[in-house]
Symmetry: C2
Subunit: 475 residues, 2 copies
């Protein structure tokens, strides 16, 4: 099972091959015998679990509660909201038989759960006193994708989907914004990914939404990854699914809805922003295991100190383990590197006699020789903070280096031919211009920013601009 032995393609030689090599070498995800579906292996699932823990805690602090809606949606229910069904019907999996019997009505496996939440709210919301409902669910959804890539595009997607319902437009819009802020916080503070956020254009918004806010990250190769969206639905679903409530004046009104989600594709983002030719590199705050101790030799002193450090760190909420397998120290070092353990402590008998211990950080691969009597909790805790900060800053520098400006289509094309990235450009707001830009290597609007205009003229048609937009090629 030691995929570690496999050579990793160089990142600058073949980014796509490098990505797949990292996924397999760090044993994050494996192919299965089911086309388009993968297995999240222990190392990958542990990252997803930590993502879930941190986000779930934040959701709950903001008053959200978890629920579980049915996996299957009857065809007629899915069809109630026209835009949603148009957006998803071509890519759902249909259940037609239960046991040996053909079903009277076919059911799809949820591609997203607006339908089921709306169905529930329609039955349970009666009065403004029942509002808001701040519901979320952790589950998997299915989309019949043709081309798939581990974590980035898969038939089965692991995610959370928040679905909230409110008595007023104002409150629902605040929720839409607030949850986008959570995703931004999560990327910046936890994943060390300096994402940008803004509004999707009409063309790129979620099917059925009034508007969509999006969190956009830039990968090392300059390709964008959408990682978290928050939708304001207004009363569209309430009208389609008949969700009415008596307001404070005892008048019937349609309720206001939002939905927001992030998925395990963030693991793909983590890899493509931070990792290197030696394997996975994880920001300390999302690393399931933060510190590995590698004892060298069989001296009691070595094991006593290893255990002492491990206990102290674990007691102080730093996850630490000792690698006690019968592999060679060199193999253990390489394995810890491939797996992206942020800090490695090497303890050898000879060094210890000189009161010396070696500490290595994964991100820069620097080795520090320290006095074996240091305060390990303080030292490691500071080091983890430094790594987290440095990783963010390196990603920010890379993002800034790969953020360009364009004032006409020729410039856009030149940039994309040379080195893709985020491209800032003004836009008139017309779909035709957006479609014309897409003809350049599939470049799409990532989001409308609040930034000021560059020239004030549309990058495509040259007419007066309505928005400053970030464009880019996407996964």
């Amino acid at each position: 099972m030691n995929a570690q032995n496999k050579k990793i393609t160089k990142r600058d030689e073949d980014f796509a091959a490098w990505y797949t090599d990292i996924v397999h070498a760090a044993r994050l995800c494996a192919y299965s015998s089911v086309k388009g579906c993968t297995v999240m292996e222990p190392n990958g699932y542990a990252i997803w679990e930590k993502m879930q823990q941190i986000l779930d805690k934040k959701f709950k602090e903001l008053g959200h509660v978890n629920v579980a809606m049915p996996l299957l949606i009857p065809e007629n229910m899915l069809k109630k909201e026209g835009e949603l069904v148009n957006g998803f019907a071509p890519e759902v999996a249909w259940v037609t038989h239960g046991g040996s019997k053909k079903l009277e009505e076919r059911l799809c496996i949820r591609p997203t759960s607006e339908t089921m939440f709306s169905d529930y709210y329609a039955t349970h919301v009666r009065s403004y006193k029942d509002l808001p409902c701040l519901f979320n669910q952790w589950c998997s959804v299915l989309r019949w994708e043709k081309e798939t890539r581990p974590f980035l595009r898969s038939r089965e997607i692991f995610w959370q989907e928040g679905h909230t319902i409110h008595a007023t437009k104002k409150e629902a819009e605040e929720e839409t914004k607030r949850m986008m802020d959570v995703y931004k916080w999560f990327h910046h503070e936890i994943l060390a990914i300096p994402s940008i956020t803004g509004m999707k254009t009409e063309k790129e918004k979620f099917a059925g939404a009034e508007y969509t806010l999006t969190n956009e990250a830039l990968m090392y190769n300059g390709v964008a990854l959408q990682a978290g969206t928050s939708h304001y639905f207004g009363q569209k679903f309430s009208e389609a699914y008949n969700i009415k409530f008596a307001n404070k004046d005892n008048k019937e009104e349609y309720a206001y809805q939002t939905s927001w989600g992030t998925s395990n594709r963030m693991i793909g983002g983590l890899i493509m922003v931070h990792s290197d030719d030696y394997g996975l590199v994880l920001p300390p705050r999302i690393a399931p295991k933060q510190v590995v101790i590698v004892p060298i030799g069989s001296d009691d002193m070595v094991y006593d100190l290893s255990n002492k450090i491990k206990d102290e760190l674990n007691k102080n909420d730093i996850t630490c383990y000792i690698d006690l397998t019968d592999k060679s120290p060199g193999f253990k070092f390489a394995e810890a590197e491939v797996n992206g353990i942020p800090v490695r402590i090497e303890i050898g008998a000879r060094d210890l006699k000189d009161n010396k211990v070696t500490i290595a950080r994964r991100d820069t691969r620097e080795k520090m020789v320290v006095d074996s009597n240091i305060d390990y909790v303080k030292y490691v805790s500071n080091l983890l903070d430094t790594i987290q900060k440095d990783m963010y800053n390196r990603a920010l520098k890379r993002r800034d280096e790969l953020t360009f400006e364009a004032t006409n289509l020729k410039e856009m094309e030149d940039i994309l031919n040379k080195q893709p990235g985020f491209i800032k450009a003004d836009w008139c707001g017309k779909k035709e211009c957006e479609e014309k830009i897409k003809e350049i290597k599939g470049c799409k609007s990532r989001c409308i920013t609040d930034d000021s205009f560059i020239t004030g003229k549309c990058v495509c048609c040259g007419k007066n601009a309505k928005h400053n937009v970030i464009w880019g090629i996407q996964y």
Copy 2:
């Protein structure tokens, strides 16, 4: 959304109606527009989350790791293990179309995941060094049940399924036993349910297992609930899916497997063992909210003390909240009762002037007037322990009262006609006798115990007994 107003049927009048009333009044679960599928509402999901937390922690302490296997299983893969497919094929949901295209091979939604874990192990296990793999997954599975009841029998089941693979028979059998011990511990120590454990008969074991260990709980009405099973597969799946490894002597050998699972039907068990005519009663160790404070009146003193108690309790890992809604105190008391909050603290301005506070326990509905200056952490913590212990002892007493002995079929029939329960009876080991016993109101063997014989003669045919068995009617 206040289903609380609904009258609850008396438990002794109509147990089935009472059960459904509790489920809805405590807002644990709601019907959905999808036949046979329910919505786990926030109160129900919170209990499931706490079950997951406690079990997951225990699994990890024992070295298990979580993974995620695909939701869909191709038909030809499911068919590889003959007994498994015979056991499950009649009740799976079949996906036949992806988008608008008919699939070349239909896929079923997993009814259980032996197939997918075996497929993974077949590709990834090469040497004894790769073993054991102690994998678990939290997910939902689908079985096309005709009759459904909230938490007890549902098309979609939320559960965990552990699937482990080992180099030796001994180790795999130890794992099978060890995980059954975990389920027993969880029922006795956390759910306050004095379950019994033992081996299933050949007829009742899991399709494809060499043997099945089971955890059996007895409901208040004397009907049994299977709540947790642990299967030893030996090499059966390894042979069917070709999972070979090189052992220490470098000889190829088929690996040894186990699987074990518990589901959200345990919530049904909690209700049917502990609850009463006033609503849900939850053992403190599984209650998502352990203490509610109801402030009465608008005096500052009342709110100051409420906040002080809440903060102190929460700081000491006792989950406590203040009911600040604008309902009447009486309504709040009733709501806390219906929802099964183990301890309620009532703080009123008038009482407080006399240094008095009222504390009520949910299980016995006793009210204690205490000095308002007590050490609340100590008092409440002791009270929660007492409630937990008392609930276990009451359930144990009920179980013992409803445990009978039978030496012939006539006695068995008389017992089941009068009051069902666990029936201990000796058995010759023959399937024909087991089938004859089943004719009495569907009475099935629950498990083979290690207890000594009653008469040494089979309760059915009168021939020499091989086992002492617990029998009963089941959900």
